[in-house]
């Protein structure tokens, strides 16, 4: 498995994110000239190889969903580049952009709000065809049947309204819609966190199967490290808009470097986990130094001032921490 991945990485980088930043200015009441800056995503760089699954892990407000929405074009970044197969997403012509966008899709977290309650299953799954392609009703029907089978739903249900379906079934429908136009790259934004525990495995397995069958590339967003263990090839840990650690999945799980990653891991692994003090700080006007320093249990004085860079600590294993820098230096 691991060798396969390495090969894939050498073969082709599908998505390349370079120094991407997303800031939202928010005005402070009447004083519109004074703006606070919410730094939702800050200086993120990421490479996603064809056929891999990169997991983006972090707590709420860390910017992972903003990053996903930026990649897919729902949000315009304030800085940086996104390349899709060497084409810059923000510089290509409109026609090319449409083509690229055809190849990217998003699965939303909550299957209750991502499907129009007035639609039947068939309406939902055929929506991409109706928008994008000029094809006959018969073909659409065929596609719908094929997709329903692919995600493990009964073709008989296609004319039923979605309120008849459970969360797990809804998420399958959402997945069917997302893969309708054969995208190459799929962003899964917390696809299981709104579902029952016993359904998690079903959906994750479905995603794994589809990846193999359709040669998909995933960006898998989750707040829980445990969920991404079996599905991802790489893990990027985000904290307050920044990637603090990045590496192959085994490497991250067996040899975490950043104190935040360690805490996250121990929260799901250990019976007596590392407990981080305090709350996640607000991303409004973040501190100059290390963004994690307010909660870090290994904090030293310089963390307040020195902003750590994401450095390659070992081969293909990156981390951003002042302590590690010191150790390696």
């Amino acid at each position: 498995m691991a060798d396969d991945i390495k090969k894939a990485i050498e073969e082709e980088i599908l998505i390349e994110v370079e120094n991407l930043s997303v800031d939202f200015p928010i005005s402070r009441g009447l004083a519109w000239w004074k703006k606070d800056i919410v730094s939702a995503v800050s200086n993120v760089s990421l490479k996603i190889a064809r056929g891999s699954c990169v997991a983006l892990v972090g707590e709420s407000g860390c910017g992972k969903t903003t990053l996903a929405n930026t990649l897919i074009g729902l949000i315009t970044p304030t800085g940086g580049k996104v390349r899709y197969k060497d084409q810059d997403l923000y510089e290509v012509s409109n026609a090319d952009y449409k083509k690229i966008r055809n190849n990217m899709q998003l699965i939303f977290q909550d299957p209750y709000s991502s499907l129009n309650p007035r639609f039947t299953i068939k309406d939902i799954i055929s929506e991409p065809f109706r928008i994008r392609k000029n094809i006959s009703e018969l073909e659409i029907a065929n596609h719908v049947e094929r997709l329903l089978k692919l995600v493990g739903l009964s073709v008989r249900d296609k004319d039923r309204h979605i309120f008849n379906f459970s969360g797990g079934q809804r998420q399958r429908i959402a997945i069917a819609r997302a893969i309708a136009l054969n995208p190459e790259f799929l962003i899964c934004d917390e696809p299981v966190s709104a579902l029952d525990v016993s359904i998690h495995a079903q959906i994750l397995n479905l995603l794994l199967d589809l990846q193999k069958e359709l040669n998909l590339t995933y960006l898998f967003i989750s707040h829980n490290l445990a969920v991404v263990r079996n599905i991802s090839t790489h893990v990027a840990v985000m904290y307050l808009g920044e990637i603090v650690e990045y590496g192959e999945v085994d490497e991250i799980f067996n040899n975490p470097i950043h104190p935040y990653t360690k805490a996250l891991l121990s929260a799901v692994k250990d019976d007596d986990p590392i407990i981080l003090e305090g709350d996640i700080p607000s991303p409004i006007n973040p501190p100059d130094g290390c963004r994690f320093c307010s909660r870090c249990y290994l904090k030293v004085d310089e963390c307040d001032k020195d902003h750590p860079e994401l450095l390659e600590i070992e081969t293909d294993h990156f981390a951003a921490c002042n302590l590690i820098k010191k150790r390696t230096a």
Binding site: G168, A201, Q202, N205, V227, N230, A263, D279, I280
Partner: protein
């Protein structure tokens, strides 16, 4: 066993609706000893929240209709207690906290005042004393600068702080039993660890009985001494936490444990429980878990609901065909 704080036999709750009678809880037995932490685990809709409200006699009747054989709290039979009698115990001797602290706290009353209510109305403090006590309890549950936070409204606190305030409120009277309904579901992973630790500390220090209602097995594993597994309105397995986790006897418990993503070892596939939770109006004949069970007997499982049998002194399971004892108890 006289140290039972709560003892319930054959609790049944139904909700009549236009489309039929929803049997939310179908005769569960439940008990908690002094200083014990018991978890009630199950997926959404299995009746665990309804049960927990019924434990405290907080369900509104109508619409709910409740029936119990035995309902004892702290040695007293409270099954026939009037509303007024219950009000003397509820909030002081037995308390409860809820999942979403933002909606569980009154949005237009200051957090401190809401805690004051317990002291003034239930414990007979004067206003000034109550304020001092509330600030003290906020400090105890780890709210930083409690005197300041006392004057905040719920929406001004962070998620973790709100949950702490809620815990403080239900801990103010030093209760004999606290029921925590999904106390960490709405929280981030690292905050979850903090809150669980806080609950555990409070429980240990004061010999309080803690009933944890949750769907998250990792929470149970870390916190509970004993666990009840609930499925579709019935308890299907009961036992000490480590025994249940190491040696599950009911196929549903095993399925749940297996579908928990594992951190330690790499696996290709997630073990999944097929199908969905049965609809409460349309429960299958015989054993409710039968349609999802890989190990069912086509004859007996289809016809009869199995009894809740004692396997050993501490273990019970509701299954015709329990999983082999793996030993190691």
């Amino acid at each position: 066993m006289s140290d039972k704080v709560l003892k319930i036999r054959s609790l049944k709750v139904i909700f009549p609706t236009e489309r039929g009678i929803i049997k939310a809880v179908e005769g569960i037995d439940f008990e908690v000893s002094k200083g014990e932490c018991v978890a009630l685990v199950g997926e959404s809709g299995c009746g665990k929240s309804v049960s927990s409200l019924a434990f405290m006699k907080l369900l509104t009747t109508p619409p709910a209709i409740i029936d119990t054989r035995v309902h004892e709290f702290d040695g007293k039979d409270i099954s026939n207690y009037t509303d007024k009698q219950m009000k003397e115990i509820v909030g002081t001797e037995m308390t409860m906290i809820f999942q979403d602290a933002l909606s569980a706290l009154n949005p237009v009353i200051k957090v401190g005042r809401q805690i004051d209510e317990i002291y003034i109305k239930k414990l007979g403090y004067s206003k000034a004393d109550a304020k001092a006590a509330s600030i003290e309890i906020l400090r105890l549950v780890g709210v930083p600068s409690p005197a300041k936070r006392y004057h905040d409204y719920p929406h001004q606190l962070s998620g973790g702080m709100r949950q702490r305030a809620l815990i403080g409120m239900s801990f103010a009277s030093n209760p004999k039993m606290m029921i925590a309904d999904e106390p960490t579901t709405a929280l981030d992973v690292t905050i979850e660890s903090q809150i669980l630790k806080l609950l555990k500390d409070l429980q240990r220090k004061n010999g309080m009985a803690l009933v944890l209602i949750t769907h998250d097995l990792s929470v149970v594993k870390r916190t509970a001494d004993r666990v009840y597994v609930m499925y579709s309105g019935k308890i299907v397995e009961e036992g000490p936490t480590d025994q249940v986790f190491n040696n599950p006897r009911h196929p549903y418990t095993k399925g749940l444990i297996n579908s928990m993503p594992k951190i330690g070892k790499t696996k290709e596939e997630f073990t999944q429980i097929p199908d969905n939770v049965p609809h409460p109006l349309n429960k299958p004949e015989g054993c409710y878990f039968k349609p999802r069970c890989s190990n069912h007997d086509p004859e007996i499982c289809k016809l009869h609901m199995p009894a809740f049998e004692n396997l050993s002194e501490y273990r019970s399971v509701r299954c015709w065909n329990p999983i082999e004892d793996a030993g190691g108890e």
